[in-house]
């Protein structure tokens, strides 16, 4: 499958994503500089983690106006698969590809550590192997200062109705508790999708948990889901 990874000034997980997709999962990867106006022919766009534009003003607020974003939004709105990781998630929120907004973590600090997330909805292209392989709790690291998700009550209700809450922070057994919520996110939300489930944003970094050498392969499950979904769609 053909993956496009967008590179913004300040992106720093673009190479990690490319490594996992190319070396571990044997996929085709192209980097797309943010100043490009058109995406190449692609099956999935990844907005990687990092600190685009130094996180000035708000995380993702300036990157959202990069030239490439117009085509990324068009791609996402027309059903193309878009995965936003960490800063990529923040950019998707600012670009209104996903509902809600991020606030600074409840403790005001940058948090970098492994967390457990529960797969709340396995019926998406990003998560469907989680059910098939019986993994509903994933161990994946987070690394952010603005990951405290917020949405107004009516928006949250609407998201629940449409199964858009995809991941919640949980303990190692899969129980969603206040203590397992690292950043104060509304209802422990760690990842969400749009109504159509083709655009997903998540704060944890699956590309940092895709090889056993790095402590967890749970992140690779999401990329493998995407690849399997795309292969099925092509048949």
């Amino acid at each position: 499958m053909r993956f496009s990874i967008v590179v913004f000034p300040g992106s720093n997980c673009d190479r990690d994503c490319a490594h996992v997709l190319e070396s571990v999962l044997k996929q085709d990867v192209s980097f797309v500089f943010h100043k490009e106006k058109r995406l190449p022919a692609t099956d999935c766009v990844i907005l990687p983690g990092g600190f685009s534009y130094g996180d000035y003003l708000r995380s993702g607020a300036i990157a959202r106006f990069s030239p490439i974003m117009e085509d990324v939004v068009r791609f996402g709105k027309s059903g193309g698969l878009v995965l936003g990781i960490c800063n990529g998630f923040q950019i998707m929120l600012e670009a209104s590809l996903l509902p809600g907004a991020m606030r600074i973590n409840k403790n005001g600090r940058f948090i970098c550590r492994d967390v457990f997330i529960k797969v709340e909805n396995p019926d998406t292209p990003f998560t469907y192997l989680c059910r098939l392989e019986g993994k509903e709790v994933l161990k994946i690291p987070i690394a952010h200062r603005e990951g405290n998700y917020f949405a107004p009550p009516d928006v949250l209700e609407d998201m629940k109705k449409h199964g858009q809450i995809i991941f919640r922070y949980c303990d190692r057994h899969g129980t969603v508790t206040e203590e397992s919520n690292p950043n104060g996110s509304l209802e422990g939300i760690a990842g969400i999708s749009n109504k159509e489930k083709n655009c997903l944003g998540m704060m944890p970094h699956p590309e940092r948990a895709s090889e056993s050498l790095l402590g967890s392969e749970d992140g690779a499950l999401l990329f493998r889901s995407l690849i399997a979904y795309l292969s099925g769609r092509r048949l």
Binding site: A61, E94, A101, R103, I104, N105, G108, F150, G184
Partner: protein
């Protein structure tokens, strides 16, 4: 309205209903210094613009980029007066 308004401050603050970790931390710090009269503290940002043009245009800028309507409110302060 005057056509020229060299300095405009766009004041961006977290909405009332949105948790503000920085404001809470600052409130606790003020209390620990003995400033018990402070009841609430919210931290935002000021964007100072040197701009020729209308207030409407500044409002457009605030809505398009300077504030996030989901979590933040903004007000526009022109030298010598305020316009929300």
């Amino acid at each position: 309205m005057e056509a020229r308004m060299p300095k405009v401050d766009v004041v961006v603050l977290p909405k009332e209903e949105v948790l503000d970790p920085q404001g809470l931390a600052l409130l606790r710090a003020l209390h620990s210094l003995g400033f018990m009269e402070v009841k609430e503290c919210r931290v935002g940002k000021v964007v100072r613009l040197d701009v020729e043009g209308s207030l409407e245009r500044v409002e457009e800028m605030a809505k398009a980029l300077l504030a996030n309507p989901v979590t933040e409110d903004f007000s526009i302060v022109v030298k010598g007066g305020e316009k929300g």
